[in-house]
Amino acid sequence: MKVIVKKEEILKSLKKVQGISEKRTTMPILNNILLEAKDKITIKATNLDNSIISTSYGTIENTGSICIPSKKFFEIIKSLSGESITISQEEKNILIKSGKSSFKLFSQSPEDFPAIKKPSTDKKITLKRADFIKALNKVEYAIYPDESRLSLNGVYIHKINEKLRFVTSDSFRLCYYELPFEKEIENILISKKGTSEIIKIFSTEETDNLDISIEDNYASFESDGTTFITRLREVKFPNYVEVLPLNNPFKSYIDKSKILESLERLLVIAEESTKGVMFSIKQDIISIKGVNVELGEGEDEIDHIYDGESIDIGFNAQYLIEAISKAEADKIEMSIKDSNKAVLISGDENYKAVVMPIKI
């Protein structure tokens, strides 16, 4: 195999695959990327759950494929000063040449690199790339962070009322974001790691569209010569629709920036472990208090429009901040039932968040 590539071009591809190739693994082959030169140059990386295939441009002098340690290869390419880089194979070694610099790397057999399973693109769905990334960005914060609850450790995507809904929950809060959607799609649960890779890989692409294909518990996402394949979670996301507090009777309309500033201030003093703040909600005014047994306390007041009963309710301030800051409107609506029940935050038509209170 021998290819001549532009440094800038190949770096773009290598950057994308870094997150996928494993750093520590019981299978050393997964620390490698597979560089293939057939009718085009492709770079593949996989950690078995997530895989990426990225196309790069260059001149192919001899076809073939090689297996190279991902991180070292990336660092070497990055360090080279020349514009044009020649990558070739010499018996078991890989030669990298650019200008007067040259490197020789030991390589593993490309036959050992695991085959990447790619869903068939026959039934692909095309979405606006920017919309899809935006939806993931809106809901990523509420994903359950560790794998002790697999059913919540990802983004649940399903079709409901002619909308594509992206749902996440860490069991203390839940949120969703919707995109208009008329086609049909299977319900899928993309893992947390898969989600963050999709955001990373496709945020910088320049093309408008993102093609999604789903088959046998794998989903692929393709845009501009880059394909990302993720193994979907096989567990079911909990039935969240039945716990959505859509009928909360009391509604408070609050200035988004005011409540955020106020919560940020009180977070400074709130107890480290619970981040608890107490809301005392009355007509026209909400007073918010943060108490810390060891440090002292803080209090703040904000005005709002409210038609309900007076309620005292406690929240984890951090949860509220995250839920509210994803809303785009200047005013948010907070609907409440009582001190122990879920609160629904609506920012704009597409975004809703549920936050559970803390006991007072």
Binding site: S171, F172, N340, I358
Partner: protein, 384 residues
Amino acid sequence: MILHIDMDAFFASVEQASNPRLKNQPVAVASSEKRGVIITSSYEARKYGVKTGFTIFEAQRVCPHIKIVPANFEKYVSTSKKIIEIFKKQGITEVFSIDEAFIDIGDKNPLIVSDQIKKDIKKNFSITCSVGVGVNKDIAKLASGINKPDGFYWVKSFDQIKDIPIKEVCGIGKKISGKLALISVKTINDFVNIKNEVLRSIMGIGGIRLKMALLGELFEKVNPESVIPKSVSNSMTLPQNIWKKEDIDIALFQLSEKVAYRLRKQGLGGKRIGVYVRFGDFTSISIDRRYYEYTSDEQEIFKRAKNIINNLALNKPIRLLGISVTELSPAVQIQIFNENKKERIEAIDRIRERWGFSAITWGVLAKRFKHKPPISPAWRPEKP
């Protein structure tokens, strides 16, 4: 002024006080009569080199005429509760463990208060304690260790403590003292001279807090409500060594059940779960892992503990198993899902409240191990 009272060889002293034949004799309290380990020993036994953690066999080897007494935790708890009442007469009391407490005595004379406490305890329970006095809890705790047993020590200036090895300070574990040794920090004086940035990188903000405390510049309140323990844990020496998966599961679930119940009784949940394994040959491993959710649910604790133990190489028969839950916080955050589960657990707790812990248990524990639970160092009197 702050007093730190530390009961001298508490469990052993209680045994000696309640049985005249054990008076002035080397006595060791063991977790169980046959296969237990030494939990504590009297000062007479310590002279022979008997140490906490010894097996009964080891204790008998260094001190052949030692009297082994199986632990009677109910007795220690009830004595401890009565002693705490004596402390409360003297000032705001923070119970630190079953045999230790802090008292804020305000402007009272520490010598007089200490004498009174010692007299009251001696008269009522025939046991002794050591008292440390300092401007804050950290210094008082350090001081009580200086003249043990039946001691009294008042730290009035930094010079009195500056040469004490830093590893003897409460909060400096093996890991941290090892790191400190690397930068040639051995004494308290060395410690307070570490630059804040360095200290922070070694042990976080807690290091700076401790430095200020040792210099007498920090005055944290004695807090009777500071009953949030550092950890809730439970361990058991098994009636015989086990190695089968089913047996390990039963033991782990049994421990989880106990730990979970104790967490719930205190209204707490924990994030970090630790598993401790001691093998038949007395080698041991412990490992812990942090999870996102605070939990006080036995099934969840069991699931996490099992997950942890599955990653350990269990290639030898197991003698003792333990589970600890740390990073505790009041369980205040309400969950979205899990409503049914919560009701089920509340029902279990109500039954136990009325008819005792063993009135109800899980089906998987039909074949449970017989075990008299030891007491955790984080023991606190229950809230009314």
